[in-house]
Every structure is written in structure tokens, then in C-alpha cells.
Symmetry: C2
Subunit: 342 residues, 2 copies
DNA sequence: AATAAAAATGCAATCGATTGCGCATTTGCA
DNA sequence: TGCAAATGCGCAATCGATTGCATTTTTATT
């Protein structure tokens, strides 16, 4: 009779007329088993093509060796970089990585997070969805003391490890840079303000204006969800003002690009007539023409750090949470370099 | 005494003085349990904050509800698109997705695949690493009849579902297009030939030349691993030929871009002096200047299809494998549109 | 009311690996 | 040689959910 199922430690045990306990210990290099027995066991395991059933082991150990990662959209450079960095560190430490995308929908995020809990992930790394307004599904992790790490989009009211970039400084620096370039009327295309990232970027913008004694003009700030299409609409509205801006600090590179293309088609020169700065340093921003000034966010590094923190939480009982603020770097490119054109 | 562990069906059973079997059946809506009991059980489950332990369920059912995906690099647009598409379909069908990247290294790929097997993934979706030359680690899946689906980079000698783009047609079309644009001496920057994708692209190139009675010139084909740096080196070599090319069909957009930048810096005009075409339609290729002609590969759709196929394999015993060849679409942009400049 | 038939629930084994405790065998030393 | 101390290994319970079969309870029928 052919066994079509996988060999188990019991099969090895039967083969050698010993107990499954011994096999288990031998395969785990337990010092209680003699070298000779270990070798015999390993030889048989090899011959049978034995592969431990991680499911069984996980159940018994109450540990899945799995880290969950939830992002708004896998298919976006920044997020896939974070995932890549996290996978890198996690794999080396012996963890698997399960990934889901919320599509920026609160419902799906809740669904995913609960599913990951049911799967008993050892920890969860998450950047919350734009739409998410309640956080009970995440607070549960804290309550049950399951490791949780936020990156990029964190929840202020939940105390845990967080890795964010210095969005405030980023917003400030962008604005200061535009001012330094001689732009006088700087608009800001902001993302939804429930997310700290966009909130902070806007505050940096506001602060830079104040520090430079430039009056804040409400009409120059447009808030939307920063898609390519909304970027165009926002710019249309801005340009239709009686007193249109001469620079736009866009909340991300996507809107910066769509705005730029729209303006170019209207015959408006960049950076001469209008300065543009984006945010995130998407790969395209370096190679478009004019190249887009932007803020670099170290995604890969962020993912690595997130994985390190979650693994530390998993493997130690210690719970001294930290918020790591990665520095933002302003990358000045053509889209805002007016001085060199004057 | 406070139970700090998660509630189980046994806790629910004890609470109601019934058996765990009944609880299990009730929670799974088994018709053998009366509606009244079901409601009581569900109420208690809710009150206790019960969440089924998927690990236990998986072990008993010998099914992990998990699909493994292995790609060379998560952090690359095409692959992250595939992952995104696959996650989309998988999640809706109740599957989790674990992801790992091989970094194009054979050793890591083998390691990953074995780990996924130990984790008893229900199926594996993979695009093999550039470096991988032996396939025993994948043949095992077929031998054990575990669902396996290749995408993009498939292994010819393993019979299973495959989703590829029509690389041959892509290579042919690119070359024909360049010929139609009046380019006479067309070089090809090819990827490692052990991968069918690059092999087919090159064959398409060769075939188009023959069909147009253009002699094939060995010295115009350069094979490397298509990184940005290697693109530059390749172009340098090509331009140093006694008889340099007037067009380059690059194996991917990355090399197309780096080649273009190199040529531009040398004062060579594109597409007037040299025509360039890439492959894959990376997001940047549309927005750079000049924009890069390329072949679109529907990554997201490919991922969806891959997930559908693997789920079909998982959920039916049927094993009639198919190879789905997604059509390639030539996107003509500025980098090869010489006619309009003459 | 008695009995058959149907409906509802429980028992206990199972999935595969792990581990505390205990038993048996070997080794060491006086 | 005798006895304590190592050393090596096995028993059986455990992790939490599932399920074939058995048992109990309820309903229907005469």
C-alpha cells in the first residue's frame, strides 16, 4: 500500500523501532539524544524525504513564525519597497511574511486584520488605510499583547512601535525651498487630514509660511485623496483663482506629475512660471522632464526597521515602544529650480 | 484566575455545558445543530471574543488556505503588480498569500520553496530566479501533486499551468516596428538566455530580421542581466563597434532608460540618431523624455489569472494544464518614432 | 401509550510535533 | 563488586479544531 501522504516523525520512528519523541528531539538537535541515534534518524529522514510539518509545530508551540504586513496597495513603489525590506529581514530571521492590501478601504482592512489574527501571526506590520477611522481592530492586538508596528501611516492613539518619516520637516523643507527659490504664492495639495502623514506635511507647510511671514491663504490649500485625476482637478481650481499660485507643493509625486502635465499642456512653463514639488521620490520623478523635486522616503530601510522592531517585540517580553522618525531628504530637481533659469 | 490565552471552542462548550463538537459544528453552520443551539453558541462566542485558531483547523484539515508566491524582487513594478493581482483574487477566495523574493539567487529560491513546502502551502505561484538552473525543488511539487503555477519565467521541462506573455511576438513586433521606422542596423540587448522570456524575445528579434532579409549580426547582440549599469556598458560597447547600430531593442525598460541617458549625455539624439525600444512598460517609460516605446505586460491581470489557476488546481482534482499566453502590446512612443521627426 | 423514525448532540480519535516526567541502561568511583 | 549518578530514551498528554460513529432526545404515527 502506498502512503500518499507526507512522511511524519512517526514514520521515521516506526522505521527505526524507536519512539517519535526521540525522532523529534534528534531532528531538533536536542542534547539528550546520542550522536549515533541522531545520525541514524537524520539518515532515515533524508531517505524518506521528510519535511517537518510546520503547521503541527506551530500549533503545538503557539507560534506561527509568520509576520503579517498590511499595506494600502502592494503595487505601489513605496509600499513594495517597504515589503521588500521587511521580507528581507524577516526571512533571514526565520519568519514568513503574509501580505494583504487594504485598497485604502476600512472594511477590507478590518477583514484582513481579523483574518491575520485568526491565523495567529506572531506580529503585524501595518500602514493604515486612508479610509480607516476606527481602530478597534488594531487595539485588540495591543490588548492581547500581540506585537504591532506601524509604519508611515500610524495611529496616534495606539501606543506601540512606529516608524515614520519626518513629514513635518519634509513639508517645512519643501516650502522653505520654494520660498528660497523666489516663489511668492505657494499652494499646497494635501491628502486627507485624518492621516498623520498628510496632516504633518501640511503643518510643515503652514509653519514655513509663518516663519517667513507669508500670510496663510486658505484658498491655496486643497485636500483630496491625491490621485492622478484629482491632481488635475485641484490644479484647475487653483489656476482659476483670481490670484493663482506660482508654486505648488503636491502631497505626492503622482499629483505632482499629473499637475505638471496639465500645466505644460496649458503652455505654462515649469519651473519658470510655476514651481512644483512632490513627495515620496517615486522612481519616475527623477526621469521625467522636467525632473520633479521631491522628498525621499527610504522605503526599503523602513521595511527593514519595521521587521527588526516586530521581531524584537516577538522575541523579547520587553515592551518599551519607540517611535523612529526617519529623516526626510529634500531632493531638488528641475521642477522647482527657478534660480538657475532666471 | 485569568486565562491569558485565547478562548477556544472548549471554553465555549464549558460555558454552555455542551460538547466541543457541537460548538465546532454550530460555528461552521452544520445543519445537524439546531438553530436555537447555534444562536446560543454564537452569542457566547461573540461574548468571549472567540476567534477560531486557523492553525489548529489547518492541521486537522491538512489545508493551509495559503498560497505561496515567489518572485525575484518584490520591489519591482511588474512583480508587485502580479502580486497585487494575485492577492486580490486569493483574498476574495479565502486564501492568504505568503510572499518571498529570491533576489534572483538560486540558493535563496530553493530555500524559500522548501520552506513554503514545510509550511504546507496549498499551492505555489512562482517566477523563477534568473540564476536558477536546476529545478528539483520545483519538480517535487509536481511529484507530490501540489498545485504549481509559473508566471512570466516558466520552466519548460515542468508540466503545469503557465502564464506567460508572448515574448516571441513582443520581440518580433519591436523589431518590425524599428524596421518600419527606417532603422537599418538594429542591436539587441538581451537577458540571460536560460530564461525563456529573454530567449523568446531574442528569437522574435532574430525572426523579424530574417523575415525582412536583414542579415543577423552576432556582434549586435549583447547578453547580460539587464541592470541599469550593464545597460550603459552594453551601449558603450555597441557604440564602439566599427559599424555601430542605429537602433537598440533593449531587453527591459531599465536598460532602455540607462542607455538613453548615456546616449543623450554623449550628444546622440533619440530617436533621430538612434532608436530605442524597451520592454515591460515600467511606469517611468511613459513619462520620461523622450518617452520610451515598449511592450506592455499586464502584470496585475497576470497575477489574477495565476491565482485563479492555482485555486482551480487546489479545489478540483482535475489536472489538465494550460499555458496561457497573454498578448503583448507594442506601445509606440517617442524614443523610436523617427518618421515623425524626418 | 408504545414504538418507530427523525433530529440533536456527545464521545473519542485524529492531524503531526513537542515536552515533562519517569524508567531503564550505562558509566564512574570507592 | 556495589551503588549512585549520568545518560539515553519512551509514555502520554498537549496544542485547538474536526468528524465518523454512537447515543440520547424529540417528534411522529398508530
Amino acid at each position: 500500500m502506498i502512503k500518499n501522504s507526507e512522511p511524519t516523525i512517526h514514520d521515521i520512528a516506526r522505521e527505526l523501532q524507536i519512539s517519535a519523541s526521540t525522532v523529534s528531539r534528534a531532528l531538533n538537535d536536542n542534547p539528550r539524544i546520542s550522536l549515533k541515534t541522531k545520525e541514524k534518524i537524520k539518515a532515515v529522514a533524508n531517505a524518506l524525504g521528510y519535511r517537518p510539518n510546520t503547521l503541527a509545530s506551530n500549533l503545538r508551540n503557539k507560534k506561527s513564525n509568520t509576520i503579517g504586513i498590511v499595506v494600502p496597495l502592494i503595487n505601489r513603489h513605496f509600499f513594495s519597497s517597504v515589503i521588500s525590506g521587511a521580507e528581507d529581514v524577516a526571512f533571514k530571521a526565520g519568519y514568513n511574511v503574509v501580505i494583504s492590501q487594504s485598497n485604502d478601504l476600512a472594511d477590507k482592512e478590518i477583514n484582513i486584520v481579523q483574518s491575520m489574527f485568526s491565523n495567529r501571526v506572531d506580529g503585524l506590520i501595518i500602514s493604515i488605510a486612508m479610509q480607516t477611522m476606527t481602530f478597534d481592530h488594531l487595539k485588540i492586538f495591543r490588548k492581547k499583547n500581540i506585537p504591532l508596528v506601524f509604519f508611515d501611516r500610524a495611529v496616534p492613539e495606539i501606543e506601540t512601535d512606529k516608524i515614520v518619516v519626518d513629514d513635518f520637516a519634509g513639508g517645512f523643507r519643501v516650502t522653505q525651498h520654494l520660498i528660497d527659490q523666489g516663489y511668492k504664492r505657494i499652494a499646497h495639495l494635501a491628502g486627507t487630514q485624518n492621516l498623520m502623514t498628510y496632516f504633518d506635511r501640511k503643518n510643515g507647510y503652514v509653519d514655513a509660511l509663518r516663519k517667513n511671514n507669508i500670510p496663510f491663504d486658505e484658498s491655496l490649500v486643497i485636500i483630496n485623496s491625491l490621485t492622478s485625476e484629482e491632481g488635475v482637478i485641484a490644479v484647475q481650481n487653483l489656476m482659476n483663482l483670481k490670484n493663482p499660485p506660482d508654486a505648488i507643493f503636491c502631497g505626492n509625486d503622482t499629483t505632482a506629475l499629473s499637475a505638471m502635465i496639465y500645466l505644460r499642456d496649458k503652455g505654462i512653463r515649469i519651473p519658470q512660471d510655476i514651481g512644483i514639488v512632490g513627495f515620496s521620490n517615486e522612481p519616475f520623478s527623477k526621469v521625467v522632464s522636467p525632473s520633479i523635486s521631491t522628498i525621499a522616503q527610504p522605503g526599503f530601510q523602513m521595511g527593514q526597521k519595521a521587521a527588526e522592531l516586530i521581531i524584537k517585540q516577538i522575541e523579547t517580553k520587553e515592551r518599551t515602544f519607540q517611535t523612529i522618525v526617519l529623516p526626510t531628504e529634500l531632493i531638488v530637481r528641475e521642477s522647482s529650480s527657478r534660480r538657475s533659469f532666471q
